[in-house]
Amino acid sequence: MPHPTLVTDLCGVRLENPLVLASGILGVTASSLLRVANSGAGAVTTKSFSVDERPGHKGPTILSFGAGLINAVGLSNPGVDAAVAEIRAYKAISRTPIVASIFGRTVDEFGAVAERAAAAHPDLIEVNVSCPNVAAELGTPFEADPATLAAVTRKVKAAARSVPVSVKLSTNFGFLARAAQAAADAGADLLTAINTVGPGIVIDTNVRRPVLANVTGGVSGRAILPIAVRAVFEISRAVRIPIIGTGGVASAEDALQMLMAGATAVGIGSAVYDHGVEVFAAVGRGLTAYLEREGLDRLDSIRGAAHVA
């Protein structure tokens, strides 16, 4: 038997392995993205950025609640120009594919930031229409309404030119298959699922107030793995485009669940808290070991395998 390979094709982008650093985790600077790439990620995603610079919310912005993390960083980002400079700097030193995550306050802003992001030639553009942590300021996430979701997708697709576009969904508004369908019909090349769940609130009972400065925050990590696996399972039945399955993955076992649910690639974020940046290499080794044990030479053999009749 030849040594099994984890090489993954994601809309024509070649990943050495299917593990993608999720947006918002160690994604602020070129150096930090490089660090994760060198730690064994198959691709890395930037923190979501917008036209204008944003400082984000005051602290605390990220907590553990014992069964996962909850965060409301508030989409802090240096603005598209600085972000694009980091992407260029990253590309100058790394061959691991990079995903530019973008968001906007309006459909037009999504287009504007996509256009400027595309100019730096990221391997993919991911459209964050599902962040639950800026509702007070930006209102209900764009994904909540299929028509708006489609409009954002079309706008970004047009602006992104040849760069494949992923639309990032959450499970926070139900009707996930409908949202996936809307994005796919509007031209999304792939989907990322899922963003954080909830949102949630953690209250400190001594001081009797919510701990996050933003009051609410999105839940991630171990708590959401089954929800994310279900989302991928459901979406992969609704549309035919690839999915980056994200949410709660911390082990090869978890990543295999995502792949068997129908994901082409697997996002990892919060697990970096529990397992360090070493989690990418560890999960990669576990995937290889699984293929070896099962006598398989590639992940394609198990992709979607859990869709039994």
Binding site: V28, R35, T61, I62, G66, P78, A82, D204, V211
Partner: protein, 262 residues
């Protein structure tokens, strides 16, 4: 502080000591082992959260020494005994204890070195202390160091007039320590690093960077170069690790991640 250090836990401040106007030590219950050089995140409920080094652990209490600099630290030095304070951590990698250390502190950077000094003393490890401040009022725990530390001040109001790095130069010329420990403003750290390299003495330096999480996931504190996280691989970094860092002394990054003034 707990085994899941990213959990928020609130504690009543057990004690407050004022060293000088705008310079205090806060004490909270200790619930987890802490190594000198490690830090905690302090949350003033409803205000904000910032990282602070631990300046001592004694009698079941963790001491944190704070200098009022900006909006957050000005609120923090006003916290009173019995007030609730959120404390998370300990985070980061601290100093490694060794024989014949030279501890070089600048300003509030004296805080983590004081904890280190006590731990080294408890282990019977010989060491030498060099502390520099702007002026006499800025030294935390002056009594503790009368006689034991060599002191420098910008205005000559305490010890010798001048920068603590002048003291370091002089000390290195006289006798080589096995290791240099340093904490203080980044320009001072850079001067210490240069001297350590020139004399081929291993150095362990404690850095500060803007932080959001404190536990390695937000990316806010990453240094340019290899992407070392000040909150995980740091705040104490060795001269060897620092070869991988390319942004020492550059303007810091603000909360958006943009380098200020860049």
């Amino acid at each position: 502080m707990s085994r899941d250090p990213a959990l928020m836990r609130t504690f009543r401040v057990a004690k407050v000591t004022t060293h000088a106007p705008g310079l205090v030590s806060l004490y909270v219950e200790q619930t987890y082992p802490i190594t000198p050089g490690q830090f905690v995140n302090l949350w003033i409920p409803g205000v904000d959260e910032r990282p602070f080094s631990v300046s001592d652990v004694k009698d079941g209490l963790v001491e944190i020494s704070v200098k009022a600099l900006g909006p957050f630290s000005r609120r923090l030095v006003e916290v009173r005994r019995h007030d609730w304070l959120g404390v998370r951590g300990p985070f980061g990698t601290g100093f490694t204890a060794a024989e014949h250390g030279l501890l070089v502190g600048g300003g509030i950077g004296v805080a983590p070195l004081r904890f280190l000094d006590r731990v080294l003393a408890a282990q019977g490890l010989s060491r030498r202390l060099l502390f520099g401040v702007k002026s006499a009022a800025e030294l935390i725990f002056p009594a503790a160091y009368a006689g034991t530390a060599e002191l420098w001040s910008d205005d000559g109001s305490l010890g010798e007039r001048g920068l603590v790095t002048q003291g370091l130069e002089r000390a290195l010329a006289a006798a080589a320590p096995r290791v240099i420990y340093a904490a203080g403003p980044e320009p001072m750290l850079l001067a210490v690093l240069r001297l350590a390299r020139a004399h081929q003495i291993p150095a362990q330096l404690s850095f500060e960077r803007a932080m959001k999480c404190g536990f390695g996931i937000c990316g806010q504190c990453c240094m340019d170069g290899a992407g070392l996280r000040v909150c995980v691989e740091g705040p104490v970094l060795t001269d060897l690790q620092l070869h991988q860092v390319t942004d020492l002394g550059l303007p810091r990054r603000g909360p958006s991640g943009r380098r200020l003034g860049a």
